[in-house]
Symmetry: C2
Subunit: 382 residues, 2 copies
Amino acid sequence: MEFQYFLPTKLVFGKATINQIGIYAKQYGTKALVVTGKSSSKRSGALEKIVWSLEKEGVKPEIYDKVLPNPTFEEIENGARFAMEVSADVIIGVGGGSAMDTAKGIAFKMKNEGDLAEYFEGKKAQNAVPIILVPTTSGTGSEGNNIAVMTNPKTNVKKGFRNPSIYPKVSIIDPELMTTMPKRITAFTGMDAFFHALESYISLRCQPFTEMYSLKAMSLIAENLEDAYNNGDDIEKRSCMALASNLAGISIGLSGVSALHAMEHPLSSFFGANHGEGLCPIAVPFLKYIKPHIVKKLASLSTIFKINENLSEDEKAERVIEWISNIIYKLNLPQRLEYFGVNKEDLRILTKHVVEFLTHNLSTTPGNLNYEDIYKIYESAM
Amino acid sequence: MEFQYFLPTKLVFGKATINQIGIYAKQYGTKALVVTGKSSSKRSGALEKIVWSLEKEGVKPEIYDKVLPNPTFEEIENGARFAMEVSADVIIGVGGGSAMDTAKGIAFKMKNEGDLAEYFEGKKAQNAVPIILVPTTSGTGSEGNNIAVMTNPKTNVKKGFRNPSIYPKVSIIDPELMTTMPKRITAFTGMDAFFHALESYISLRCQPFTEMYSLKAMSLIAENLEDAYNNGDDIEKRSCMALASNLAGISIGLSGVSALHAMEHPLSSFFGANHGEGLCPIAVPFLKYIKPHIVKKLASLSTIFKINENLSEDEKAERVIEWISNIIYKLNLPQRLEYFGVNKEDLRILTKHVVEFLTHNLSTTPGNLNYEDIYKIYESAM
């Protein structure tokens, strides 16, 4: 048993905790840049509450609401330029993964000159500006780790950037902000959280803490996602999903994701897929393909999904995959790659992209997958 | 669901990880004070390995091996004076709870003038000198929290001091160092870890993270403590106990202990009891007494202890207490207070002490215990 555990972020979890954000922000200065998208933080009321709390505590808010899905280096650089113009002391990211990761990128870029691509390659980084994150979806879990997923517009490579400097100082997880999430977003972000948990659980880097977190996250999702989808106002269900997403986010920060996430990334960068939606058609073929290597792990999940205890290990593993297939169906999520306009002739490009640029995710995936394996999985997802 | 989670410590877990300590220490300066007791860090070989690793990385070690069980303010002040004389940049605590807590106290005292008692009362504190901890027992879990248990020699009050400044920067948990732990110490430190887990689980401040940690810790202890006791060389068993102790230590840092720990503290300060031993005779009467308030929680542990599923909740709770009573017996730990020389006429003094000085532990204990309750529990432990 050998592992490391590190999470220097203070997690503040609970209904209405958003109203305390000013108290935390003022520890880092008097000017805060609030990084968000066009709509979700307004719809949820998060933005209004944040501005109120910041002003109450004497912190001047500047709003930067230009976040787009799947943020690029360029968008992050633009944000950082704005942040420096307004001399922001602290960066507050509010929204889903794109908003939170843009905030991380901006805070990093403010202290680190030069091309972002170089830092992906290991260039030594300075500290970042302090970061506070506020998720308004329950999917990405970015508030619980030091990963910022960004797309390099030159290469179309979408990849997670990891750096110790971009752990949020504080993450405020207020499930009330999630009650206004539309059904479709509840569904695909919930499945993103589920796959974070599952992938870090089967990861070759799984360790005792992430094992606990992943199991708890999957159990919470199994019990609450459908209800949160069908009855979005239920604060208890939303709380459970928010916790699941947070736990799964911490898990991937420590144990990584797998080839499933790697295979989704080019769907987003080439076909504009929503990340959580993009995972769904690949998941079942992926799990079936690597099942021989993870049969014990899959079978161990059977109690979470209330699968009959008297089955063989292999049958239990089968049923777990079936459960996943069913929930994708029940949540009206895409089951085939054609949903994104992918044609058979695109598969070689997607496969090449994974094998060329996302080897780190393959290296933690059981089964030692190569080009042919990835191609076959994509093919089964058509 | 409302809670906070914060643990800024890097945990480095695994066999032979002690050899990396110099790499971590040099991040904080060139002079390290190694705080330890007379024997355990020498017996385990920890001290020798630490000195080797520090010197290899260009950090000069100074040894302070004057730690005694149940450290007092005075002992901590003496240590801090020595640390300042040698201009230590980082304080390394190696040993059981007393050594680690003395190290925390020294690091704190170096940056905070005046009487330690005032800081217990809430005097505003500055940062402490960076702390690195190395447990050589699996009981206290002090490497996973910001608590330092100290005794005020004027009042004989033994109490946990909490301050954000005394989170260790790094904790190195090397189970190999625990293979030389004598049977008796394995037993009572193991039960200390068990009660940390159980008490934070039943605590009114229990939250989702500490619930996970406590359950995992109890499960690891149920599966491994007896084997670690009977076969101390087994590195796998030692690893499981080290992890359990660490998880339980994090749990009490976040959710606190209960009246059981409060009732043990005066046994240590008045009767010189070893903390882990002192808990044992009180535990069963305590749990029986508050059982009506925690029957669901106790019953929920029945699977951990492999208790028949078809029993009623109340019967399951009974059996869980029985399991605890049995393990205390099997590990040859004290079952009656008379073991420590406590007489019936001492009980009023002990009770008064708990009610007067340790109210914070009572406030997190289900059942709203008062003087009479505490007295009755002590009485049943005679």
